[in-house]
Symmetry: C2
Amino acid sequence: MVRNETISQRIERKIEGKQRVVAVARGDEKPDLVLKNATYLNMFSNEFLKADIAIAGGLIVGIGEYYADNEIDVEGKVICPGFIDAHIHLESSLVTPSEFAKAVVSHGTTTVITDPHEIANVMGIDGINYMLESTYNLPIDVHFMLPSCVPATPMDESGADLDYLIIDHLYEHPRVIGLAEMMNFEGVINGDEECLEKILGSQAHHLKIDGHAPGLSGNRLNAYISAGVYSDHECFDYDNALEKLRKGQFIMIREGTAAHNLEALAPLISVKYHSRCMFATDDKHPNDLLEKGHIDYIVNKAVEYGVNPLLAIKIATHEAARYFNLNNKGAIAPGYLADIVVLDKIEDFKVEKVFKKGKLVYSDGKVADFEVPEVAPKLIKHAHNTFNVKQVVAEDFKLGDAPVIGLTAGELLTTDCGRSDKIDVSKDILKVAVVERHKGTGHIGLSYINGYGMKEGAVATSISHDSHNIIAVGTNDEDIALAVNEIVKAKGGICVVKGGKVIGQVELAIAGLMSEEPLEVVNAKLEEAKAKAFELGVPEGIDPFMTLSFISLPVIPALRVTTTGVFDVNQWKYVK
Amino acid sequence: MVRNETISQRIERKIEGKQRVVAVARGDEKPDLVLKNATYLNMFSNEFLKADIAIAGGLIVGIGEYYADNEIDVEGKVICPGFIDAHIHLESSLVTPSEFAKAVVSHGTTTVITDPHEIANVMGIDGINYMLESTYNLPIDVHFMLPSCVPATPMDESGADLDYLIIDHLYEHPRVIGLAEMMNFEGVINGDEECLEKILGSQAHHLKIDGHAPGLSGNRLNAYISAGVYSDHECFDYDNALEKLRKGQFIMIREGTAAHNLEALAPLISVKYHSRCMFATDDKHPNDLLEKGHIDYIVNKAVEYGVNPLLAIKIATHEAARYFNLNNKGAIAPGYLADIVVLDKIEDFKVEKVFKKGKLVYSDGKVADFEVPEVAPKLIKHAHNTFNVKQVVAEDFKLGDAPVIGLTAGELLTTDCGRSDKIDVSKDILKVAVVERHKGTGHIGLSYINGYGMKEGAVATSISHDSHNIIAVGTNDEDIALAVNEIVKAKGGICVVKGGKVIGQVELAIAGLMSEEPLEVVNAKLEEAKAKAFELGVPEGIDPFMTLSFISLPVIPALRVTTTGVFDVNQWKYVK
């Protein structure tokens, strides 16, 4: 609703549009567009039907026989609603929402539900507002779930601390539809006040609460759900997913860059269970977006795994919309938004055309131009000033005896590799540092790391979950210091240094998380930086940056390094 | 939300309850009640499962293994959520909501969605408030859809005229969940401003809009749906229902006292279509409530018609709850309201026990005592003063030449039976009168009627859809006048008169629509009055009162008599 509008003013503003919709539907006025001879997927009767689809004022207004000046014959194609990603952190694409939208709309996505918790950990409410403003009126609709865990843990030194009261006013925003993944499931189960307050806050606005509880089951799962958490996107195991589904959680089947749960969960997409399922990516990195696609990729993959295509498309569209109460999305029917995808065929399909609110936004391999949303100058300024760190020098990274954190190839889990009193490249013992960057505390957490394989130089990144301080790993303190200083200078990013020289860099000047360059450019830089890291000795089985991004998240066993020291997750305490 | 409560106060008020729920669910505190060894219908996985059901604070908190001081072993029984009636006008039961609740809770109903349009036509907003107050905290939850058509037509002289602005504030009431049946579908299709304003009003509050469009199809149906109307309870034909379902309308399969659509629509309750279906009664008269039951009766009947019992129960509970966004209803799962029904078996079942918010409200044939809700004195006073009519005399009903309205046994349709200049009992030509009773206009509409069969005396009723003026039919003007005066004296009801004497009467002193007596008493009086009408010659194939109740509704062809004259519905004009 427009601010300060009375109910009469609102209705006055809307009635003409409504009258036109009705007039076109009944056949007395011409539609803006007719898709002739459309074979479309009917989400209510679970079948393919054939008819003309009439569009007016951004809505589908009629299914039947219609004529317009603007007709597109879609004979032989398959028509379905736009795809919906039920859970993503847009920041993980490393590009602006506009660039992200450009990438995914060409894959048939017309709606994503984002949890802006990366940027919120850096910029607090300003970060959420930055994302709200930069997603306004894109060729995809971006709905928001408010971050529930900022900071992620009490050990985190993040840029903000968001309690239920601080975020409450945002529930009034028309694109905010709930509370995002309640990662602190232990807190919920144990009746922690801050957690329950956040749940009660979203409930007070009659909005959704998403879950995040890997492996949770039994009575503890009952407690988590009873508290009000009715979805989960962390299922990697069929039996656990089925238990959650039976107890009332909607299952967001996740297939993203980092996590691949589709194969295990594909059997859920059956006649019996599908109405409680949807798809999510959680995160999509640049090369993954460019090479694989988005929800279209998951649908095709699901069909490869034996899922009925109709059901795969239904959970990719209709079921996600119903879960989030997006009542005018997820179907080809009168009154629904004309968010429409034209597929070449039903199996192993390619997206040929995409309509958003009746406007052709993608066709013939090309995304239609659109206006990049304006963001308030205050927010832009804040986003470009999120590093409150003094220039560091090699001496800042001096370290004697300390624990050695062991990396495990292909996993986020680390191991306890004993102790060391110095860097020893021959034994693959490197230094790892976490530089607090939000509040100018000067805190630097230091430790050693094993398994990163680097023979010379250093690597640093300002993407480090969830607080996004600066993480650096290196073979010598000078290169570590240089990598950190370069990141601060660039206002964020990824940096690869060798012998006092920068040899690879991705600038991420928006909150230290996102680039201002096109997706293809960011991807090229990132791939080049990766290649440089591999040249320095990082084995190819390890993603040199993503691996580091999780080294500071003090919830995944065994050892993590935070801005205030090494934390043993199993023992839940700092170790000297 | 409690009025004027801040968000913090609300959460403060709720947090302890939430903490207890979580503690009980995880197993650290004892539940209030455990249903041991429950075979329950799982609405998410579409199967029967067996487990203990733990209840605390009015909620189901755990499914698994639980123990409590208060345990009920339900081994061998079938457990399902409480039944939901998706559309009813409570007034049609002729009793107070408390009496209605008592009757239906014993049949497993725990939620009804009512449209108070009968009382709203008499008392306006006061009528809606009367129903809201008299349904507070009953053993069933009563949710409201706001009447969309008061008065029903421009020809109606009703007690109120409700536009979208007058009803707008009521959308804030926690039990108001939308706009009730948009009966003026012609208005919607033709873009009538008043109709569209009402739809826009409900949409502004993100609430539902129910439909009412018998037989509507094709592009006109597209127009009606596009305007925002996503349900229909007027389907009597399978093909029309399927068309509506395919176009996005939820189908409320109606099986009430007057309309019987279940047999025709039962095939919709299939794996393919059931998720778009639910049950409704629309109206339930006293003897029907007492003899047949409520939603339980429909479920059993559906199974008789070959419907899978699991699906029949699912649409009677879960699907209705989902349509109305009653997110904590319609399933046996953690966090859902403990609205639970214990059935003796799955087919041809009887309801043995009913729990409302975890409290046993029906067991062993007995409804637990409950406090009858208090209604504001101002509203009670208004409800008992809805007749603004002077004493009438025989001369008021003088009539010369006029049209003859022909009744059709078993149907609401009437026929044009030519004209007459007098009552002629030998030819079954009686007099029919409609006495305006709201505004003291003195308007009396007069005509003749054929097919009612009465040989002597007169009958009158203050139930006359939708304006509820007084309708009388008689063999002589004296008895007509007496019947009308008796109704005014009793502040409403039904009256049978013979030779200057009252021989049957049902007092309906609440708005002229509902009695203050128990259901059994009202039913006995009504049956007796009916018997008296039959004695006077009304043939048994005609319901002597219900038939009259529709004689003034100027939307059903062919002829109707209103307070201002005889109306030809086919020609859409008054006839002399």
